[in-house]
């Protein structure tokens, strides 16, 4: 009877399974009665939160992959198909897109927890190193995932990041060609990135399993950083920490839902709403916020190879952190100097992030150099020396009571939030033009696009804009979203002549549209569009409200901003002066003038009114899910808030016996 497990479960089915494969015993041991220091503060939630992130990302990712096309011709459109046509596709996609940011916020705080309380020190070195490997894998996964939508930022991000490897002498060029599968980022690159983006999360699961397994051998650190001395220092993981983690998860999901439903593109880049164009780099190219500090390190050195080495080095050094820090005291609470310098280090990291968001000019270059210097000096000089000269405070005898560090936690969260905010202005700053800010019907958490205005805007689009601008991601059936009835849509579609495939002789055929038809394009292809417009391509308007900094305000400004050029300005031939267009010279002649369109509802047809209506319509066209999204957001947040209260009340009851 070698190896049959003696199970203690009473339920006969569980007992039968457990005798042969003791997974229930294992779960009970590792997550049920597992002795856990009883003095954790809320920083110890972040491991569980990261697990939640990973699970949500894998789940949503699998469903996205069912509709995504890893093909340079189709990728961008397939994402729009997910956003517009797939049931709840926008929800799944925005959860996934914002999930990447959530995952990094949580992981960075989790790492900070380890740094502050010395969780990397003996005997947890391997646990820490596995954590660093997890971070690296996460970065690779996030990077490749960002490439998949095949927008401008995807494409140029992929180009820049893969080109990092070209810095290495001799082999560099070959590595880059190998990564690309060609001589530029192209179809083979996208296809393999998709394959790897699907694979790596499962590799992550493997490494996380090892990370957790190592944790369960050496046991958790705690805010005091001292070893657990007796069973009195611990509580069983369940129910004490399962319930405490649940509180954190509810609050965390609330924040996530807030981003998804009320500011889904806050952390994104407008340029990624423009399909990849291998012939034109966007004016300001910035990576996602979670890569900004490393990006700033890269740019702080005026030497390609050194910059790349420092960038990778800044991460790889973390692997040897347990040996760089020579102090044997774990928690920063008992290290009066370390307690201060760790914040300086965090500050240097945040400053690097902010620098990364700005163009490398003037003050930002100096700042990023200083911050880079401290980042490395902290690891290579301060930590080794500090351990020798610092006089730690006396350590307590045992873990007595839970350590509450509310203020520290709040400080860290606030810092994280402002850090995120600070990483935003880079793009606004480059605009240097003050847009005429309007009050929009869709502003704020309760706002939804004004249907009447959107309908008028649609009239403006179809009578004016549609002469040059396509909206290829919209179909006539979508107009139900601005309140047109099925009959109105049918009638309108039938009044438009659209391409209808090939006739029996194999020639292109046209006929009246149906609700299922795409919005008719004014030109059969881009070449024809350029030829008809002095070489300038009128952009597709489906996503224009998201693809331009300022959104609806920008469109509005552009419509009303035509004027005579200032005396001292030299206009290029064929260009028109516009106050709100970056550079002020635009190929489009003034499209709207007073009274150009006849409204049926009696609204005034002056320029301002028409500009506002068409901006509302285009905003809706780019965000057709807005109304539903906000409704779902309210329900989700209310529900999660209620659950946070319930779990918190339960947590107090559970912990009442210990406190």
């Amino acid at each position: 009877m070698a190896g049959l497990h003696k199970s203690e479960f009473a339920n006969p089915v569980i007992n039968w399974v457990d005798t042969r494969l003791p997974i229930f015993t294992m779960m009970q041991k590792e997550y049920g009665v597992f002795p856990t220091p009883k003095n954790f503060n809320y920083f110890w939630n972040f491991g569980a939160l990261a697990m939640v992130c990973l699970m949500v990302m894998i789940l949503t990712g699998i469903f996205l992959a069912m509709n995504y096309q890893p093909n340079t011709e189709l990728a961008f459109a397939s994402v729009q198909h997910i956003m517009r046509d797939v049931n709840y596709g926008w929800l799944i996609r925005y959860v996934h897109q914002n999930g990447a940011s959530m995952f990094f916020i949580v992981t960075y705080i989790h790492i900070f927890r380890g740094l502050y309380y010395g969780s990397y020190k003996s005997p947890r070195e391997l646990l820490w190193m596995l954590g660093v490997v997890i971070l690296l894998l996460m970065m690779a996964t996030a990077f490749m995932g960002y490439v998949l939508p095949w927008g401008q930022m995807s494409y140029w991000g992929a180009t820049v990041i893969t080109n990092l490897f070209s810095a290495f002498p001799v082999v560099g060029k070959h590595i880059v060609t190998l990564l690309w599968g060609g001589f530029s980022v192209d179809q083979p690159t996208l296809n393999r990135f998709f394959a790897l983006h699907y694979l790596l999360p499962f590799v992550l699961i493997g490494v996380i399993f090892l990370h957790v397994a190592a944790l369960h051998i050496v046991g958790s650190n705690n805010p005091l950083g001292i070893d657990v001395k007796s069973p009195q220092d611990t509580v069983p993981f369940h129910p004490y920490y399962t319930i405490k983690d649940s509180v954190g998860i509810c609050v965390f999901l609330m924040i996530w839902a807030g981003f998804v439903c009320f500011a889904p593109n806050f952390l994104g880049d407008p340029n990624n709403f423009i399909p990849a164009n291998p012939l034109q780099t966007p004016a300001d190219i910035v990576p996602e916020w979670y890569f900004l500090p490393y990006y700033a390190i890269l740019r702080s050195v005026p030497n390609k190879l050194l910059g790349v080495c420092l960038m990778f080095g800044s991460l790889l050094l973390l692997l040897v952190l347990p040996w760089l820090d020579t102090s044997r005291v774990r928690s920063a609470r008992f290290r009066p100097i370390y307690r201060k310098v760790i914040w300086v280090w965090i500050l240097s990291f945040v400053v690097l992030g902010v620098c990364g968001a700005h163009k490398p000019e003037g003050i930002w270059v100096i700042l990023s150099r200083v911050a880079t210097l401290y980042y490395f000096a902290h690891l290579l000089v301060v930590l080794p020396i500090l351990g020798k000269i610092e006089r730690p405070l006396p350590l307590p005898e045992s873990i007595s009571n839970p350590v509450v560090v509310r203020s520290g936690l709040i400080a860290a969260l606030v810092a994280a939030f402002f850090g995120l905010q600070a990483m935003q202005p880079a793009r606004a700053e480059s605009a240097e033009i003050r847009l005429p800010e309007q009050k929009w019907s869709f502003d704020g958490a309760f706002g939804t696009p004004d249907m009447a205005a959107a309908q008028r805007g649609f009239k403006v689009y179809s009578e004016v804009c549609a002469a040059c601008h396509a909206m290829q991601y919209l179909h006539y059936r979508d107009l139900a979203g601005i309140g047109l009835s099925a009959e109105q849509i049918k009638a309108f579609a039938a009044s438009v002549t659209v391409p209808q495939g090939l006739n029996d002789e194999g020639m292109p055929k046209e006929g009246p549209g149906t609700p299922a038809s795409q919005f008719r394009s004014p030109f059969p292809n881009d070449v024809a569009a350029r030829a008809a417009n002095n070489g300038a391509l009128p952009p597709d308007l489906s996503l224009i409200a998201n693809a331009r900094e300022g959104g609806a305000d920008y469109i509005y400004g552009l419509m009303i901003g035509f004027a005579d050029p200032p005396k001292d300005m030299k206009m290029q031939s064929g260009m028109n002066y516009n106050i709100y267009f970056p550079g002020h010279q635009i190929a489009m002649p003034q499209p709207l003038r007073d009274g150009q369109v006849t409204y049926t509802d009696g609204s005034p047809t002056n320029l301002a009114q028409m500009a506002k209506d068409v901006s509302t319509f285009l905003y809706w066209a780019a965000n057709p899910e807005e109304t539903e999204r906000k409704q779902i957001g309210f329900r989700a947040i209310l529900y999660l808030g209620f659950m946070a209260c319930v779990t918190y009340a339960l947590k107090r009851k559970v912990w009442a016996a210990v406190h």
Binding site: M66, N87, Y88, L91, H238, H475, K653, V658
Partner: protein, 195 residues
């Protein structure tokens, strides 16, 4: 059960609840119930959109109708057009085929249905069918005169030998039902619109 764990932990660790209010078990049970029910509801509301995303998307549902010009189809011949990704058989029946379809007694049929119910009144010669075998989804032969048409002169499914007559009704073999008739209408005498 969790209750007793908490209590025993407190006991064995020699703590008492110095807050002065020992945990009220009934209130705690209530909270536990709410928390687990809440988690279950939340789980379901996550699963719902994910599963819904696998259902046909808006563009698939909105697939347009197709129009078919009947003039080139000679008696005895048929064509196949694609509608919603499915093959649609459009067959110009000969007078003999129509007669044999009409003459069958309903009680001889596995899935009784009169021929008149399967064609449009006044257009007896046109048979329009979804060309998918009701057994397991193969496309039956017989739309072209050169095809094997089975013993009833209609359609024959090569997969498991279902035999359909000249009205597309199942006569022999494992298929349970007649071939489906799609929604269609005559736009003019020589043109139909499917869908």
């Amino acid at each position: 059960m969790a209750d007793s764990t908490a209590a025993s932990t407190a006991d064995s660790h020699g703590h008492d609840s110095h807050g002065g209010h020992p945990a009220d078990p009934s209130k705690r049970d209530m909270l536990e119930l709410m928390a687990s029910a809440g988690a279950a509801i939340f789980g379901a509301s996550i699963v719902w959109p994910l599963v819904a995303s696998m259902n046909p998307a808006a563009d698939v549902l909105a697939l347009s109708s197709v129009e078919v010009d009947l003039t080139p189809i000679q008696p005895g011949q048929g064509i196949v057009v694609s509608w919603q990704g499915k093959p649609i058989f459009v067959r110009h029946r000969t007078p003999e085929e129509i007669k044999s379809a009409k003459d069958v007694k309903l009680n001889e049929l596995n899935d009784p249905q009169a021929d008149a119910a399967r064609v449009k009144a006044g257009h007896d010669e046109w048979l329009v069918l979804i060309g998918i075998c009701t057994h397991l989804g193969c496309i039956p032969l017989g739309n072209k005169p050169a095809d094997v048409r089975g013993e009833f002169g209609g359609y024959f499914c090569p997969c498991h030998g279902s035999v359909y007559d000249t009205s597309g009704r199942i006569r022999r073999g494992p298929a349970p039902k007649n071939l489906d008739v799609p929604q269609y209408a005559f736009v003019t005498d020589s043109k139909i619109k499917i869908g």
